[in-house]
């Protein structure tokens, strides 16, 4: 009979001891904030477009850290999604957006149709639209993140999202290069 009591006491003492140890460790190794959020945010494209359903990239990073899906960022595309999956330690998932959305675009204002209402300026999260009341507006394409947010508020629908044209600088080598084969070793002249 006493054996059982000894066992109970022993295990209780052991558990108590370990409990104290862990409690002490938890206090000692306390993690302030969530460093993961910063790392996740660094991966996001910072378009602040809100297509993920959150009002900006930081809130979405926080949401991912709290277990939201990693596939809600159409501007980032599959590459960003994979990196997010990597960082968050979850499996990659196909993007929610269609392929079409993933082409990088910038906003373009048809300037002769612009009535100068300044609504798009207020909508732009990165201040990439230049203009003032009753005067024509224009988009600073270098700053435009292609977030789409200015299209909806425009009362005269004069904003187009145009795909970014390639130039020699942005050209991706894999497109339409004709391969040059090296000369054959056996041919001697």
């Amino acid at each position: 009979m006493s054996g059982i009591f000894i066992a109970i006491i022993l295990l209780t003492v052991l558990a108590l001891f370990f409990g104290l140890l862990l409690g002490f460790a938890a206090e000692k190794f306390k993690v302030e904030g969530d460093p993961l959020v910063d790392q996740l945010e660094a991966l996001l494209p910072q378009t602040q477009c809100g297509q993920c359903g959150y009002p900006g990239c930081r809130p979405y990073a926080e949401a991912i850290a709290n277990g939201d899906k990693i596939n809600k960022c159409p501007p980032g595309g599959a590459a960003t999604m994979e990196k997010l999956a990597d960082m968050a330690g979850v499996d990659p998932e196909p993007l929610t957006a269609t392929e079409e959305v993933q082409i990088k675009k910038v906003a373009y204002i048809r300037e002769d149709e612009c009535i100068g209402c300044t609504k798009c300026i207020q909508a732009c999260p990165v201040d990439a639209i230049l203009g003032t009341g009753k005067l024509m507006h224009t988009v600073i394409t270098d700053y435009c993140t292609g977030c789409d947010l200015c299209v909806e508020p425009c009362p005269v629908d004069c904003i187009d999202m145009l795909p970014v044209t390639q130039n020699i600088k942005t050209w991706d080598w894999k497109l339409n290069a004709i391969p040059v084969k090296t000369i054959d070793e056996d041919v001697k002249c």
């Binding site: 996001l44 494209p45 910072q46 378009t47 602040q48 900006g56 990239c57 590459a79 149709e113 100068g116 209402c117 300044t118 999260p125 990165v126 201040d127 990439a128 009341g133 009753k134 700053y143 993140t145 009362p155 005269v156 629908d157 390639q166 130039n167 020699i168 942005t170 050209w171 991706d172 080598w173 894999k174 497109l175 339409n176 290069a177 004709i178 391969p179 040059v180 084969k181 090296t182 000369i183 054959d184 070793e185 041919v187 001697k188 002249c189």
Partner: protein, 770 residues
């Protein structure tokens, strides 16, 4: 132990790693002297050539002489473009570019006049003495103005290389030309050795190195001999300058490889040779420098090797930069078909051209026209067998198979960790690969992907920065607004403490004061309205109820004003054109209805006779309007803006009347009054009599519809809807009452029509209305 310089003087060579011995096939093109081609009809100068942000200083139709500067730029690295021949600028447009992508670039097209007249700046050769008198700075400016870029292929601005930040101990003149087929440097060394040596002397003077080596591969004995003779003739110091023959090996002509062979030093990853105190210049560049300094002759032509089995006149040619390659092909009797490749550069590092009309560039040293059986046929890529041949031949001591593996799996960060950036894309690994894997292609793709990624990262950083700044700014603005609101609330509180009676007394006092000083009053009117706006923002609930009352008061006040102040009214009317159209449509909605009523009652409108019949209905409309407090607030905002603008023009008496009505409901009355005034001006200016009629007819039915109708009318008026018939406007307005939703659709359509002038839609609209 010998020092480095002693070893260099002895002619010691170090072993470089890797390299291959491809068949040279140089005899195809180096047996004939350098020739010139007849002028082409037009020359295409791509504009953003070397150095960015250039401004074109000629325009279409301008005459340019041969060697005239076409672009100017302020950037340190800017190199101007020059006209390759005399003629007129026929157009400036997007033309096919000489680039592996085949993407078009903005080009300046010059149609040759056939005279080849030199620009006035080009003068006969200076004597050595005259050259000696030029300062270093003058020399560098001349080199920059001549647009000289490295002619070895990379086309890096030469004047930057010649003004390094650190001391240069060793200058290497690169006459290696290790790539098969190409003989341009070989031929220019044979024929222009004295000029090259003069150019080298200028480089020597600018950099003042301890040693200068002219390195030539041992498969060019004639060139070595010529250069040696020229060196003996030249004024260069004999002990510090030597010609070194280097065993033939591809790619010993690469900058870093050549340095390793000649000095045994390895250029660190990511560094440039200048950090080791070494500068490498191409022989053709030395020739161009001489031309630029002695004759002020810009870099507008270069020796290009045209070779391969598909041309009958293989050889080297002086080809003006900007010559369409199709012209070169015709002149050298290209016998290939449409599917035969035109390769710019050599077989190892060149790229196939997409469009024959692309021009030659400063870096184009060879046009290779291989027959279909000349180069190895394309073969299917087989799996890597890990033979390690590629690692043996890699001159940069990389691990090509490892790079290939990661590049193929798109693990670019891992590829980077294997120093992908140090790959010089020489093509040795591709050449030896038994599995026919186009390794360099993979590296290029990986490199461009890494670059794009870095670019994206930068872009994201910038966007984040701007977003943060904007958020900060919005917050600041909000705080400022709140503070202002708080301040005005406090002021209001202090005002409220006094009784109504006091308020009346105060108002009466103010009337007198205003009558005395009109200007002072105008100021106070604006402040009052500002205050009332803040008030509406704070307590919009109360406003709900009292707004309607206020309106009525305002009207009364306006009537009074009209009775007493006819002459001031004319003043206001004259100032009408200055008041601007409301930016916001919503504001416009209320504004239109209210304004019209006010305008008519005050008798300000020129067409008062017409609209006065609708007076009764107008009243209902304007009374209905204030039901929604949101709109009222907007109206108040408009009023504020207008009040400020109009403040100077407001007559004292008008303001008085509004103050008289104040005791009943002080603030609301003031708002209403201000609105009334503003609207009167606006309405009179912008609304035609017809529009006023139509909208006022619909007004009594439903005020919401009225607003829509007014918007439509206004939008049309603003855009000077010439395309729109008056009928259309009428129908859409009349139809509005039928159904609220429908009306809104109709309004939207009408708006769109006004903008796009698409009359087709009108039938649909009418259908909607039914």
């Amino acid at each position: 132990m010998l020092t480095l310089f002693e070893q260099i003087d002895k002619g010691t060579l170090w072993r470089s790693t890797g390299g291959i011995h491809p068949p040279e096939r140089k005899t195809l093109s180096n047996r004939t002297p350098i020739k010139s081609l007849p002028l082409a009809d037009e020359y295409v100068v791509p504009l953003p050539q070397v150095g960015e942000s250039a401004i074109l200083i000629v325009k279409q139709g301008d005459y340019v002489a041969k060697g005239a500067i076409l672009t100017k730029g302020t950037h340190f690295g800017h190199l101007p473009a020059h006209a390759p021949t005399s003629g007129h600028v026929s157009c400036i447009e997007i033309r096919p570019g000489n680039h592996a992508s085949g993407l078009p670039v903005l080009s300046c097209v010059i149609s040759a006049d056939g005279l080849d007249t030199y620009d006035a700046n080009i003068h006969p050769a200076l004597s050595t003495n005259e050259v000696d008198q030029l300062t270093d700075k003058q020399l560098l400016t001349k080199i920059q103005q001549a647009g000289i870029a490295g002619l070895g292929g990379a086309a890096f601005p030469t004047h930057i290389k010649l003004s390094p930040a650190s001391d240069i101990e060793l200058v290497i003149i690169n006459g290696i030309e290790c790539e098969p087929y190409i003989t341009a440097d070989d031929m220019i060394m044979r024929e222009k050795s004295d000029e090259i040596l003069n150019g080298i002397a200028i480089i020597h003077r600018l950099l003042a190195p301890k040693r200068l080596i002219i390195a030539i591969e041992d498969n060019k004995p004639e060139a070595i001999e010529e250069m040696q003779h020229a060196l003996n003739r030249s004024s260069l110091p004999k002990d510090g300058v030597r010609i070194t023959s280097i065993p033939t090996l591809y790619p010993s002509g690469g900058e870093k490889q050549l340095i390793q062979i000649l000095t045994g030093q390895e250029v660190p990853s990511g560094a440039i040779p200048a950090q080791l105190g070494i500068v490498v210049q191409n022989v053709a560049t030395a020739y161009a420098i001489n031309e630029a300094i002695q004759r002020n002759y810009p870099l507008i032509e270069r020796v290009v090797t045209v070779t391969g089995d598909n041309t009958q006149l293989a050889g080297n040619y002086w080809i003006p930069i900007g010559t369409p390659i199709s012209h070169v092909l015709t002149q050298t009797q290209f016998i290939g078909g449409e599917h035969d490749k035109v390769i710019i550069g050599g077989p190892m590092m060149g790229y196939a051209l997409h469009n024959d009309n692309a021009p030659t560039l400063k870096g184009s040293n060879c046009i290779l026209l291989p027959a279909s059986d000349e180069l190895a046929p394309e073969q299917k890529e087989l799996p890597c067998v890990r033979c390690g041949e590629c690692a043996h031949v890699c001159p940069a001591q990389l691990l090509p198979q490892q790079l290939f593996w990661h590049a193929k799996a798109q693990e670019y960060d891992k590829a980077t960790s294997f120093n992908l950036a140090d790959c010089i894309e020489c093509g040795c690994c591709t050449y030896v690969c038994p599995s026919e894997i186009p390794l360099v292609e993979y590296y290029r793709i990986a490199k461009s992907a890494i670059k794009a990624e870095a670019e994206e990262k930068k872009q994201a950083e910038l966007a984040k920065q701007r977003f943060d700044l904007r958020t900060q700014r919005l917050e600041d603005e909000k705080r400022a607004r709140e503070e202002k609101q708080k301040a005005s609330a406090a002021r209001r509180k202090s005002n409220m403490s006094s009784s109504d009676k006091d308020a009346v007394a105060l108002a009466m006092a103010r009337i007198k004061a205003k009558k005395a000083a009109a200007n002072a009053e105008a100021d106070s009117a604006s402040t009052l309205s500002t205050r009332s706006v803040a008030d509406t923002g704070a307590e919009n609930k109360r406003k709900d109820i009292s707004a309607a009352v206020a309106r009525a008061k305002a009207k009364k006040a306006a009537q009074k004003a009209a009775a007493t102040q006819d002459d001031t009214a004319s003043n206001i009317t004259s100032s009408m054109p200055e008041t601007s159209a409301p930016a916001d449509e919503r504001q416009a909605k209320i504004a239109a209805a209210v304004a019209r009523a006010k305008a008519k009652k005050a008798g300000l409108k020129p067409d008062a006779a017409d609209s006065s019949t609708a007076n009764g209905s107008e009243n209902t409309g304007s009374v209905n309007a204030p039901v929604d407090d949101k709109k009222a607030r907007i109206a108040a905002t408009v009023a504020k803006a207008k009040a400020k603008k109009a403040a100077a023009q407001l007559s004292a008496d008008e303001a008085d009347t509004s103050t008289v009505s104040a005791p009943v409901d002080d603030k609301k009355a003031r708002i209403a009054a201000t609105i009334a005034k503003a609207k009167a001006k606006k309405a009179a200016a912008q609304l035609s009599a017809d529009e006023a009629n139509t909208s006022s007819v619909s007004a009594p039915v439903d005020d919401k519809k009225t607003r829509i109708a007014a918007t439509i009318a206004k939008a049309k008026a603003k855009k000077a809807a010439a395309q729109l018939s008056a009928d259309e406007a009428d129908t859409s307005t009349v139809s509005a009452p039928v159904d609220d939703k429908k009306a809104r659709i109709a309004a939207a359509v009408a708006k769109a029509k006004a903008k796009k002038a698409a009359l087709k839609i009108s039938t649909n609209t009418e259908h909607d209305k039914d």
